[in-house]
Amino acid sequence: MLPKLFFGYYAVVIIVLSLLVVTRKNPVHSVMWMLLLFFHIAGLYLFLNAEFIAAIQIIVYAGAILVLFLFVVLLLNLREELLIERFIGTWPTALVISVSLLILVIRAIQDMALAPPGNHSVDAIQAETHTVALGKILYTDYLFPFEIASVVLLIAIIGALVLAKRKMRSPQ
């Protein structure tokens, strides 16, 4: 009973916060609600025995990405933002599409069947801690994607620099 209550709390808060994120007029508010949302999601991860993921959710998402968002939002013209309509004209259509998709997916979830479980049971993970278990897989089976991920990040850094840099005055 207690876990279900716990889940109920997180679920309601996450949904409400999501709605707030997409509906607030002021982007700063949206980002703030998002921050709160990320903490709740991290909590949900803990609930699912994923400590390491919960940690990087906080560190990377909340700590790095959202701050970046906040910087950019503050660079833009907020005053004008508050004066104009926040949705485009065809938003009811979009709502219909979203709700239909929602119904469709929920319907699909109903007749889902699970594959046989693997060998990382909760006990097994707890025996060697989640970080160690994850690291073992990551640095063996997924070493190559891991390296690629690092290259992607490197490119992202350089790319962001190049893009955001002010155009140099052309020689002429």
Binding site: I88, T90, T93, A94, I97, S98, S100, L101, L104, V105, R107, A108
Partner: protein, 645 residues
């Protein structure tokens, strides 16, 4: 290497030297190269004649020219009696005219070019007569046509000259169209296009018929008529005669060499060469005889009223060529070739004399502006007078013997139209004498009718021009003596006096003639009378009462206009062939088919696609979210289809 190869290839070498190095190095010395080469050819030709007289003929291949499947043809040489006669005619005339040109073309800007073309022409003509197969004949045939094109259009800055050259080439192409098909039919029939096997096998297939474009035609007739197409084009017979009068735009030596003595007689040569084919087809023979007869009288009547000195001679050439065709058409090939041979001398002489006159008159061609030139240029007068006597058939001169032989064989031969063409031939003899002497009298007698300045300029031509005239005069007088009719020969005490006929016998055979000696004397008398009558009438008209011709022209104005306008043949062609073709090209092909129909389809399909896309592009709002929404809808549809299936 065989000695006879020198005959064509010496002039070719001269051509190459002149055309490649003429402008920079040879320049004013160009005539030496050409004259030496042609004279060399002449010497070898005489040498060849001596060999052929001994009975040594040649039929050899040099190298394989085209080989494709069973089609095999070489560059090869056939030297027999017919070839030899042509070789002598061509090299002699060519040599003399080369020499004449030294004086005539002196100081011209394209001196080297002129001699290069003359040499090239000589080469092509020699290749033509020496060929041992039809394709090489065709090579020479087109080659001389090309040189004719170059030389007619020699003064290419003149529009009329370049027009005339082009016309000559294209009209000839019409003839060559038939000629080429003839060669193809020969190949498909015999599997070879060498003379020798074709002529030996033709007897076997002559009776066969062949389906040609849906018609059943006799094989020999078909081949003969197709080849005949080529002959009438080159020899300017009706209806393809229109180019020859215009060809007088070329320098006069060219008219003498190409359009009188040699090239235009190639048609007659072809008929004689293919006599084994023609002889097997009576329809083809009749066509040849009739075309020849009609052309001869047609041209002679036009010549009566013309005033351009060169054009009169050109029509005279047409008329004489008609004579030769007539001869071949009645089976008298030897007589045709004999006339070709004598005609070459006196007609070349006439042209060169006309050139000499033009030289003195600074290019003036109109008879009405001449007169009384006798005292200024005695040599030209004398030689031209003799040439005119010869063409008029005055006994003892070259023209008499050949013309007389043609008329006699037409009358007495087996041809169904013989009597008819004889009658026309006799009338033409009269007309020929008339217009020839009209020309003489208007040019050399009476008072000078040109301007003061022209009169001042009058002079006899230089030696390089008069010497060839005199040499040719010898030919115009004496060349006929190798073919004195046996009838006359008996009188003057020479047996087998028609030596020429005997010489040609191995190639051309002997024509049949059924007539008595009395008849032969009578015909000879009639033709002599016709000639003398023509001269007399001309004397009356143009030495005596100058008013008579003017009066006649007024009285018969209608006929005069028709003759003056050359029977409107040029206009007829212009309106029935040239203009409709151009009109179709401009208005139907360019205007409708290409521009409307094809382009409509070609441009219409993309335009239709473009039109549809004009509507479709409205879907592209450019708003990011619309695209995303469409994508989401797509996901929705695909998901729904998978789940709810």
């Amino acid at each position: 290497m065989n000695y006879y190869l020198l005959i064509p290839f010496l002039p070719l070498t001269a051509f190459l030297i002149n055309i490649l190095f003429g402008k920079k190095y040879v320049q004013e010395r160009a005539h030496w190269v050409s004259i030496l080469a042609v004279a060399g050819s002449w010497i070898v030709a005489v040498f060849t004649l001596l060999k052929v007289l001994k009975g040594e003929t040649v039929n050899e291949d040099l190298y394989t020219w085209v080989l494709s499947g069973t089609f095999e043809v070489s560059v090869g040489f056939l030297i027999d009696q017919l070839t030899t006669v042509m070789l002598i005619v061509v090299t002699t005339c060519s040599t003399l005219i080369h020499i004449y040109s030294v004086g005539y073309m002196h100081g011209d800007k394209g001196y080297y070019r002129f001699f290069a073309y003359l040499s090239l022409f000589t080469f092509c003509m020699l290749m033509l007569v020496m060929a041992n197969n039809f394709l090489q004949l065709y090579f020479g045939w087109e080659g001389v046509g090309l040189c004719s094109y170059f030389l007619i259009g020699y003064y290419f800055n003149k529009k009329s000259a370049s027009d005339a050259g082009k016309k000559a080439f294209i009209v000839n192409r019409f003839g060559d169209f038939g000629f080429g098909l003839g060669i193809i039919v020969i190949f498909l029939t015999f599997g070879t296009i060498y003379y020798e096997p074709v002529f030996t096998q033709i007897g076997g297939v002559a009776a066969q018929t062949i389906s040609f474009l849906g018609y059943e035609v006799n094989l020999a007739t078909l081949i003969a008529l197709l080849l005949f197409c080529g002959a009438i084009g080159k020899s300017a017979q009706m209806p393809l005669h229109v180019w020859l009068p215009d060809a007088m735009e070329g320098p006069t030596p060219v008219s003498a060499l190409i359009h009188a003595a040699t090239m235009v007689t190639a048609g007659v040569f072809l008929l004689a060469r293919c006599s084994p084919i023609f002889s097997l087809s009576e329809p083809a023979m009749v066509v040849a005889a009739l075309i020849g007869a009609i052309t001869s009288i047609f041209a002679a009547t036009i010549a009566l009223v013309q005033n351009d000195i060169k054009r009169i001679i050109a029509y005279s050439t047409l008329s004489q060529l008609g004579y030769m065709f007539l001869a071949c058409g009645v089976g008298a090939y030897t007589a045709g070739i004999f006339h070709l041979y004598t005609h070459a001398f006196f007609k070349a002489l006439l042209f060169l004399c006309a050139g000499s006159v033009m030289h003195a008159m600074a290019g003036e061609l109109d008879l009405q502006k001449m007169g009384g030139l006798k005292k200024y240029m005695p040599v030209t007068y004398a030689t031209m007078f003799i040439a005119s006597l010869s063409i008029s058939g005055v006994p003892g001169l070259a023209g008499f013997f050949s013309k007389d032989e043609i008329l006699w064989l037409a009358y007495a031969g087996p041809s169904p139209v013989g009597k008819f063409v004889w009658a026309i031939g006799t009338i033409v003899a009269f007309l020929t004498a008339f217009y020839s002497f009209r020309l003489i009298f208007l040019t050399f007698h009476g008072e000078f009718r040109g301007t003061q300045k022209q009169e001042h300029h009058l002079h006899e031509s230089p030696k390089s021009m008069t010497v060839p005239l005199m040499l040719l005069t010898i030919g115009a007088v004496a060349s006929g003596w190798v073919g004195i009719p046996n009838l006359l020969g008996e009188v003057i005490g020479i047996e087998h006096s028609n030596w020429f006929s005997g010489f040609m016998n191995p190639v051309l055979g002997h024509p049949e003639a059924h007539g008595t000696h009395a008849e032969e004397w009578m015909l000879m008398g009639i033709s002599v009378l016709a000639g003398l009558g023509g001269i007399g009438l001309a004397a009356v008209f143009y030495l005596g009462r100058r008013s008579i011709p003017v009066l006649l022209a007024q009285k018969f104005g209608f006929i005069y206009r028709i003759l003056w306008n050359k029977y409107y043949v040029d206009e007829l062609y212009s309106h029935t062939i040239v203009r409709p073709t151009l009109w179709i090209s401009q208005n139907i092909l360019m205007g409708i088919t290409d521009a409307k129909i094809i382009e409509l389809i070609v441009n219409g399909v993309p335009r239709a696609i473009g039109g549809v896309s004009q509507h479709l592009r409205k879907v592209q709002t450019g708003l990011l979210q619309h695209y995303a929404a469409i994508m989401a809808t797509g996901a929705l549809i695909i998901g729904a289809w998978i789940l709810l299936r």
